[in-house]
């Protein structure tokens, strides 16, 4: 206490009051603070120990499922496979008949590539977009049909009329996409050829298309009738064969 004017006979000296007033003015929030005491000596309660013990057991169990954790001989776990959802344990998708498997692949491609012009019923609009239903070029020889899809078409179509120019669709198209779309259009919308254009046939079509004289240009009716009125080479597939719907490979015998 070194306040200058403190008088011993005056308990509540005016200076103390002043100093206290300063505290109240400048440090009210600090003055009402409580002091921190940290040395509580309560013991750790039993149930906290039990809860932590349970968690320790769980953590130990997790380490246990890891097998030989620190075995550096194997960098990662052999044959780690995510387990399928319950009920779907027997691996592999359900096999489908070849025609249905190809068509479901083709349906996706149709809605992405063809739907915009030829329409969801494939009837076109009668002026700029021709109908695919009943067209002899669609249901006829597969080579001819494949060339139109891959390269586009200029000039008159199978019914002799001239519609708009069809742009080529083959850029980036995989053989299985081509096979799917051809099978789909030939067996849907009222067309029913009943046969499957296989992936092998589609591969052949891609090769034929690349080897054309005017490769890169649209085909015309004249070129089609001159060069392409033939079936695509390749083994014919029985439409009832069971296939894996994703890979389109023959399904394993059950």
């Amino acid at each position: 206490m070194s306040l200058p004017n403190q008088t011993p006979d005056l308990e509540d000296s005016i200076n103390v009051t002043e100093a206290h007033g300063r505290v109240v003015r400048e440090a009210a929030a600090c003055a009402r603070e409580k002091r921190i005491v940290d040395n509580g000596i309560e013991p750790i309660s039993l149930w906290a120990f039990v809860a932590c013990g349970v968690v320790l057991l769980v953590a130990g169990g997790i380490l246990g499922t890891g097998g030989r954790l620190f075995s550096y001989g194997s960098i990662f776990r052999e044959g780690y496979i995510r387990t399928p959802a319950p009920g779907a344990a027997d691996a592999g998708p359900v096999p489908k008949e070849a025609l249905a498997a190809y068509m479901s692949k083709g349906a996706k491609i149709y809605s992405a590539k063809c739907n915009g012009c030829h329409g969801s019923d494939a009837k076109g609009n009668g002026s700029t977009f021709p109908s695919l239903v009943g067209s002899t070029w669609v249901t006829g020889e597969t080579d001819l049909f494949a060339m139109i899809i891959l390269n586009g078409l200029e000039g008159p179509v199978s019914d002799g009329k001239t519609y708009g120019v069809m742009p080529p669709q083959g850029i980036g198209m995989a053989a299985e996409d081509l096979a799917g779309i051809m099978t789909y259009v030939r067996n849907n919308f009222g067309n029913a050829t009943g046969d499957v254009v296989t992936i092998d046939m589609a591969k052949a079509a891609l090769e034929i298309s690349a080897a054309r004289k005017n490769a890169g240009k649209s085909v015309t009716g004249a070129e089609l009738t001159a060069d392409h009125v033939k079936a695509l080479p390749g083994d014919v597939l029985d439409p009832k064969t069971l296939l894996d719907p994703i890979t389109l490979a023959p399904a394993k015998a059950p």
Binding site: M1, R22, A28, A48, A59, I62, P84
Partner: protein
């Protein structure tokens, strides 16, 4: 006699007031810009969440595509709000506990601006498509030395204050804060060096990244929040900390366990396969430090429920501890390798866990600290009890919805993802209602934080109440004081303390 005691406590109060005054601008700068970043982050979070269920929303802006907006949201939350709130609390609390005034306020303020510049550049980098694609490290690589440099410039002074403190006991909060101050640079330098400077195997890089995320939560945000809570709980209630041994258990178990956690995110990836298992086990074990601290803090505070009910600082802190308990249980539930971990690994659950840690736990404790610290550094009381209540209620309801929806919706989504015979669309369909709920809940949180930001800015402008009576959530006198404080209390001196001259 009584006047002597009075004067010594008065001098003590003046010392503390001096410390507060020396830190006024740095603390208020970090808190206010942090609150602004929090609001920005929530807006970005709403956009990102809306895109999950309505992909056409704002589809015309490439800079607001999901792949940019979502990382911008998380990074603004972590580096904009989280770190700046932590800076404010650390520099203030370390100065108070070391009983030293801050002599480098200008430097800290400058470094704080550099930090903000780093965050702005980083976010512009993300939104312009130059993010790195590493979760929580999406800022372009050039920002990390900037952030590290300003981090050291901001916190080195707190180390110095601790070094030159008066001899004596080191309080629990100081353990936690010092540990966080040391652990973060270790984590940050390790992760950034390994990911940006040394080009190792990319799968391992993803593992390091997952570890970084976990380490920032458990080796920085968690100790900062716990240190703060250990300061506020006895300070506001006046009770001693319930159990010193529990505090020690909590601190050392965190220090030993937390560095191992994180790599369970990479379960099934071709990395040394003990890493995911050790990560999962460590994350489960984080239950121990979390529960030890929670019990200790709850036993300390709940001994006086009337203080918890009336003090904004304590109410937010208790809510944050509630978040910590929820976090501890979800750490156990989400990391069981044979059942839940595959479901949580790539789904919303991970996000829910992070948001629970960042907002439900860390941010709530930081809000508690803000309500305690700001009246002291500005020497004004909070303007409105109603604004505080709005902030609390909307935040609590919002975060409960976001966290629970993300945790459980994520498990649903995970079941959809695991069913690999169904198209991926199935997983998205399962998550759809949860995504809508998340968007709505973020809107609630935004609402609450806009008011918080306005309230805080008014306080920094010293437009708070001039009164010696704190703004409590429940009036001690049965009737609330008017907006300008108690009757006759407009001036600085409280009733009965008018100087007699």
């Amino acid at each position: 006699m009584s006047s002597v005691i009075q004067t010594s406590t008065d001098q003590d109060a003046l010392l503390r007031a001096g410390i507060d005054r020396s830190l006024r601008h740095p603390v208020m700068f970090f808190l206010t810009s942090g609150a602004a970043w929090l609001a920005v982050s929530i807006v970005l979070g709403i956009i990102a969440s809306a895109k999950v269920h309505s992909p056409e929303f704002l589809a015309g802006f490439p800079c607001l595509s999901y792949g940019r907006v979502f990382p911008a949201h998380i990074n603004a939350l972590v580096y904009g709000w989280g770190f700046q709130a932590a800076f404010a609390v650390i520099i203030w609390m370390m100065a108070r506990l070391s009983r030293k005034e801050c002599t480098a306020a200008g430097l800290i303020l400058t470094a704080g601006h550099v930090w903000n510049l780093g965050v702005i550049l980083g976010l512009v980098g993300i939104l312009s498509g130059n993010g790195t694609g590493m979760p929580w490290m999406e800022f372009p690589a050039f920002t990390w030395p900037v952030l590290l440099f300003s981090y050291f410039s901001i916190l080195i002074w707190s180390f110095i204050q601790f070094r030159v403190r008066p001899e004596g006991h080191v309080y629990i909060s100081q353990w936690y804060l010092l540990a966080a101050m040391v652990w973060f640079p270790w984590v940050f330098i390790t992760a950034n060096t390994l990911l940006h400077c040394i080009h190792g195997h990319p799968v391992m890089a993803a593992g390091i990244n997952a570890w970084y995320k976990s380490a920032v939560i458990f080796l920085f945000f968690t100790p900062v929040a716990l240190g703060t809570a250990y300061y506020l709980a006895p300070k506001v209630t006046g009770h001693p900390v319930y159990s010193y041994s529990l505090a020690k258990l909590g601190f050392w178990s965190l220090a030993v366990i937390a560095p191992w956690a994180g790599m369970q995110k990479l379960t099934g990836a071709p990395i040394p396969y003990f890493l995911p298992y050790v990560g999962a086990a460590a994350t489960v074990l984080l239950f121990v430090p979390a529960i030890a601290a929670s019990i200790n803090l709850l036993r300390t505070t709940l001994a006086s429920p009337e203080v918890v009910a009336s003090s904004p600082a304590l109410r937010f802190t208790i809510a944050g501890i509630g978040g910590l308990i929820l976090l501890a249980f979800s750490a156990v539930v989400l990391n069981l390798p044979e059942s839940t971990l595959p479901l949580a690994q790539f789904s919303l659950s991970g996000y829910g866990f992070e948001i629970l840690a960042l907002y439900g736990f860390f941010s709530f404790v930081m809000f508690g600290a803000v309500y305690f610290i700001v009246p002291r550094v500005t020497r004004r009381e909070w303007l409105s009890r109603r604004l505080i209540k709005i902030h609390f209620l909307f935040s609590v309801y919002g975060i409960i919805t976001v966290a629970l929806v993300a945790l459980f919706g994520g498990l649903q989504q995970g079941i959809g993802q695991e069913d690999w015979q169904q198209p991926w669309q199935g997983a998205a369909t399962r998550a759809y209602p949860y995504a809508v709920a998340t968007t709505i809940a973020w809107c609630f949180i935004l609402f609450s934080n806009v008011f918080f930001f306005i309230h805080l800015t008014l306080m920094w402008l010293r437009l708070g109440r001039r009164s010696s009576h704190p703004t409590l959530l429940i009036s001690a006198h049965g009737h609330g004081p008017g907006p300008h404080g108690e009757e006759g209390d407009i001036d600085n001196a409280g009733p009965g303390h008018m100087p007699a001259h």
